[in-house]
């Protein structure tokens, strides 16, 4: 096994499981649609809340996508093969996150124009929202993958994984939505974006190592 063959097969499998990604997207749109239906469909409510609604829905659907990231590999024994491949496990985990991130976030960004129209998000703020997603979502994936690796050997692990991981998502949601809010109010939002980037970089350093430890513990 080499790093490139690993990455290639990851992409191939994600491509063959495109239905899962599609489901996550549909779930995302449905959650967003809950707010106008459940709370208030008027632009007066939706426009200021749009950033928050989109982010909360995005976090939930990303969690759904991450939750099963290791399940198949664990059951068919390929996780064991990764551990005994002689390649660096943290690096493999990093590649896995990158592949997953690309396959989930790109479609998410593609339907963003539609959703921002549905929620009356001002077009000037749209690009700020896209930026927050680009800068903030890597850290969601990095942190989430730790939880996914930890609970992979449990039969009912998904609920536990969400309970475990969601608190760590609070800062990302806070900074992302506040950047959108600041942009809407015409204030400077670069500070929040910088924080998002910093969190993504920090989790980039910490998460592969922790995920590797979790994977090694799970396969035994």
């Amino acid at each position: 096994m080499t790093y490139s063959s690993f990455l290639q097969s990851e992409f191939l499998i994600l491509w063959r499981r495109k239905q899962d990604v599609l489901n996550a997207l549909l779930f995302f749109i449905l959650v967003v649609a809950l707010f106008p239906i459940g709370v208030d469909p008027s632009p007066a409510f939706l426009a200021p809340a749009a950033g928050g609604i989109i982010w909360c829905a995005a976090v939930l659907s990303i969690l759904m996508a991450i939750e099963g990231a290791f399940k198949e590999d664990y059951l068919d024994g390929s996780l064991e093969q990764l551990v005994t491949s002689g390649l660096s496990l943290p690096l493999l985990m990093l590649l896995k996150v990158l592949a997953l991130w690309g396959c989930v976030v790109v479609p998410l960004l593609l339907i963003m124009p539609l959703l921002s129209e549905m929620l009356f998000l001002p077009s000037t703020v749209f690009w700020v929202l896209i930026l927050t997603l680009l800068l903030g979502s890597p850290s969601l994936f990095f942190i989430g993958l730790i939880g996914s690796a930890l609970t992979v050997s449990l039969r009912q692990g998904s609920m536990l994984m969400m309970l475990l991981i969601l608190p760590f998502y609070f800062p990302v949601i806070i900074f992302a939505t506040s950047a959108v809010h600041a942009a809407q109010a015409g204030l400077s939002y670069s500070g929040s974006l910088a924080m998002l980037l910093a969190m993504s970089l920090l989790s980039l350093v910490v998460s592969p190592v922790m995920t590797a430890i979790a994977v090694k513990a799970s396969v035994n």
């Binding site: 063959s5 191939l12 499981r17 068919d76 024994g77 064991e80 093969q81 035994n220």
Partner: protein
């Protein structure tokens, strides 16, 4: 392949949950030798293999490979080891050929094709593993034995779900490997017909 390779396990102690699986277990495998690990269910045969490749951390014990103590740093050992566990590590959503490319990306197509033909997988090379039978899936995993040039083979129940023909093919391959100076450690309940093996029995 290193023809002078040797693996020595001394005083190994593995624990699983609350139970001791083996304590004070010692054995060695010399080049050209097949070691068969016997023992009833739950005596720790699989765990022993996993402990050698560092998937399980033993409580005590030393592992020597090529005469060097590799207990702390298994890199040398893992580099020349081919491990096929109970779950064989074949991805369901990849085709047979893609699975082998995933594991051994560097082999030429000729080698790949001849291995597939040898194992009777040639007609299925583009089929997704999901739609193969258990025995065929096992064959896909075992195809690695033809494609990679590792010295030490650790095989957990390699004969399970193989038919008689498959067993013969596999035994021949094992025989060929050890005659070139390779090491094989395997767990099985089955009698080996073509290969002469030394037995290590684990007691509960």
């Amino acid at each position: 392949m290193q023809s002078s390779a040797s693996l020595t396990i001394s005083d190994l102690w593995i624990e699983r949950g609350e139970r001791d699986l083996c304590r004070g277990l010692s054995f060695d495998v010399r080049p050209g030798e097949v070691l068969r690990i016997l023992g009833g269910n739950g005596t720790g045969k699989s765990s022993l293999l996993k402990a050698i490749v560092d998937v399980i951390t033993p409580i005590e014990g030393t592992i020597y490979y090529l005469g060097k103590n590799v207990t702390q740093c298994r890199d040398v050992l893992i580099e020349s080891t081919l491990y096929i566990g109970h779950a064989v590590g074949v991805k369901r959503l990849l085709s047979v050929e893609e699975n082998l490319r995933w594991y051994c990306p560097d082999v030429s197509s000729d080698e790949l094709n001849s291995a597939l033909e040898h194992l009777g997988l040639w007609p299925f090379r583009d089929t997704l593993v999901t739609s193969l039978s258990a025995g065929q899936t096992k064959r896909v995993a075992l195809a690695r034995l033809w494609l990679s040039e590792k010295t030490l083979w650790l095989l957990d129940e390699p004969f399970s779900s193989l038919d008689a023909k498959g067993c013969t093919i596999l035994e021949n391959r094992i025989q060929q490997h050890v005659s070139l100076g390779g090491l094989v450690v395997l767990t099985t309940h089955q009698d080996l017909r073509l290969v002469s093996a030394r037995d290590v029995v684990l007691l509960s």
